[in-house]
């Protein structure tokens, strides 16, 4: 039973990353109509920025949690202003190709300087150790990751679905010209939205730094699983990506316990099954 709970916890943690990443993708897709292939590379940058902050500036984990997403978010906004902006009105496949190129550049540069091996990042003192829950031993940091990312996901959902700013955002997705006519600076809003989505990816990167090692390719394979999560969920709603992300993490964890050989592939197999039954995805609108 111990092992089952441990795998469930691992599943929940992976689910937190899936949810944060697919949430960022959904936010970006909603406003920019771009599938951000660079999302995995930006997640990796988040982890690296946290590493540099600690290693070079002596800035601890708690500040990194705030500063790294801002730095990477600004980097993202520069990308949007200098490149992505020029794709407005073109087929969305060009966005996929452009961000794929950006991902190759970012990952290649990091691989040149840091090789493919990982850099260690210590768990902050306050979150070291573990708790005995009676039925299992819970490492505090892992519990923190699950709760913190859940809070961030719900806050993002609240921001987009329940606030005035979110209402502008959703309106601008539907009809940018009309929203502009009301005196709202839509291009600036698009830039900020991209920054927000990228910031979410970087935040996931910081969270994962103490668990997984900080590696240039840490986002490269993860992003394809997240794409599968997105296909299953359908990117129709913000809540949809959060729930699908967590649920698939848990299913993956359970597979690791009952049939480890399939743990790498279960998400993809599920994707095929969902598509056979419901081609639009679980919460999806028609593409």
């Amino acid at each position: 039973m111990q092992a089952l709970y441990a795998q469930l916890l691992v599943g929940l943690i992976n689910g937190s990353f899936y949810a944060l990443l697919s949430l960022g993708l959904a936010v970006i897709f909603g406003m920019l109509n771009i599938i951000n292939f660079a999302h995995g590379a930006l997640y990796m940058m988040g982890a690296f920025v946290a590493y540099f902050l600690l290693d070079l500036g002596g800035i601890n984990y708690w500040w990194a949690l705030l500063i790294a997403p801002i730095i990477v978010g600004i980097f993202g906004m520069i990308l949007e202003r200098t490149m992505l902006q020029w794709l407005t009105g073109l087929d969305h496949l060009y966005g996929l190709l452009l961000t794929f190129g950006i991902a190759l550049i970012v990952q290649g540069v990091f691989q040149n300087y840091f090789g493919s091996s990982g850099l260690p990042y210590a768990i902050p003192d306050q979150l070291k150790g573990g708790m005995n829950l009676g039925f299992m031993f819970l490492p505090v940091y892992r519990g923190w990751v699950v709760i913190f990312s859940l809070v961030v996901c719900l806050a993002t959902w609240f921001l987009i679905e329940k606030t005035r700013l979110g209402a502008y955002l959703r309106a601008a997705t539907e009809n940018p010209t009309l929203v502009r006519a009301f005196g709202i600076n839509v291009p600036r809003m698009i830039t900020l939205t991209y920054g927000l989505g990228v910031g979410l990816a970087a935040l996931a990167g910081v969270l994962s730094a103490p668990i997984n090692q900080v590696r240039p390719l840490m986002g490269a394979d993860l992003i394809i699983v997240v794409f599968a999560v997105v296909v299953i969920g359908g990117m129709g709603s913000i809540m949809g990506s959060i729930i699908t992300g967590f649920a698939l993490g848990v299913i993956e964890g359970l597979t690791k316990y009952f049939y480890p050989e399939a743990s790498n592939t279960v998400v993809f197999v599920l994707m095929v099954l969902v598509l056979l039954v419901k081609p639009t995805g679980l919460t999806g609108r028609a593409a």
Partner: protein
């Protein structure tokens, strides 16, 4: 919304004459390679990728479908051919047949699943399916995991042509490439190809004209996947191994890059693109990881500034379809 291949020019009888002239020139140039002192293995490798890129272009350039998982056909056919040649001891022609049949079956299954979603979703599904296969091949015993299948016997094609001789192998690969290329050319210019183009331009209108567009897209997917598998089977004889790199998603990205550089929806573009990218990898190998950065930069530059690609720009300048 501007479609991916808006700039392609209509095909007229004069255009078809131009294309045949270019084809004959290309075939003669390639046939002369063994006499020119150019390293034949480089050209053979480029020819395999050129065929792969042409097969990929059949889908995106004429059907408007961006597959981000074409490496799965290359890799699957490669593994199956390699296994048939080495373990079952089949002759080369049957080995190729096994690989192509495997790619055909795979494309039927993956096509059935992926055609159900459009646009970006289609790309993501093909990507995820190819990653699924990557993990399967990583764990399956017959692929030997990280080592791959090595030391594949080349044998005698039809019991006559000794493929261990570089010149014989070169001409076999060249004939395979030219046959595949002509088949794709024939498909594009058939009534089926015309319907495919109409789906690319305006799927809703094609539906309202009474075409079952899903069936056309499915058939295009199967043809493209099977031909990509043929490229993978040929590549086994050139590289004499089948490995995980051929199935990894970065290979799918490279195929997209080749086609994009050469020109999406142009007939000769993928061939030029494949030669450019393979030459780049060959001659920039000393830069190590910077090659990835350079490839990424080419992607960005192509998308931002010259979306028509090399051949697309030339064709546009000459006002000819190429």
């Amino acid at each position: 919304m501007t479609a991916l291949t808006d700039d392609t020019l209509p095909v007229t009888p004069r255009a078809m004459r131009d294309e045949m002239i270019v084809f004959v020139v290309m075939a003669l140039l390639l046939a002369a390679v063994p006499f020119s002192g150019i390293y034949p293995f480089f050209v053979m490798q480029a020819l395999c990728f050129a065929l792969l890129a042409c097969a990929f272009n059949l889908l995106i350039g004429y059907g408007g479908l961006l597959s981000f998982g074409h490496a799965m056909f290359l890799g699957t056919a490669g593994y199956c051919s390699a296994h048939a040649l080495k373990v079952w001891g089949l002759p080369p022609e049957l080995g190729i047949l096994v690989g192509v049949a495997a790619a055909f079956l795979l494309s039927v299954v993956t096509g059935y699943v992926s055609i159900r979603r459009q646009g970006i979703y289609f790309s993501m599904i093909t990507l995820a399916l190819s990653q699924l296969l990557y993990f399967i091949y990583l764990q399956a015993p017959f692929t030997h995991g990280e080592d791959g299948i090595q030391g594949i016997p080349q044998g005698h094609m039809f019991g006559v042509f000794d493929l261990s001789k570089p010149t014989v192998l070169y001409y076999v690969v060249l004939i395979g490439f030219l046959a595949g290329f002509l088949l794709i050319y024939r498909i594009i210019n058939s009534p089926f190809g015309e319907v495919l183009k109409s789906i690319r331009e305006n799927e809703q209108r094609a539906i309202s004209l009474g075409y079952r567009t899903d069936q056309y897209k499915f058939l295009a997917f199967v043809l493209s996947g099977t031909l990509a598998g043929f490229a993978g089977s040929l590549k086994v004889f050139v590289a004499q191994n089948a490995s995980l790199t051929d199935v990894h998603w970065s290979m799918s990205g490279e195929v997209v890059l080749m086609t994009l550089v050469g020109g999406l929806g142009t007939i000769f573009g993928p061939v030029v693109g494949a030669f450019v990218i393979i030459a780049m990898q060959q001659y920039l190998a000393s830069f190590g990881q910077w090659v990835t950065v350079i490839q990424g930069a080419i992607f960005v530059i192509c998308v931002l500034t010259f979306r028509r690609g090399v051949i697309g720009e030339i064709a546009h300048f000459l006002r000819r379809s190429l």
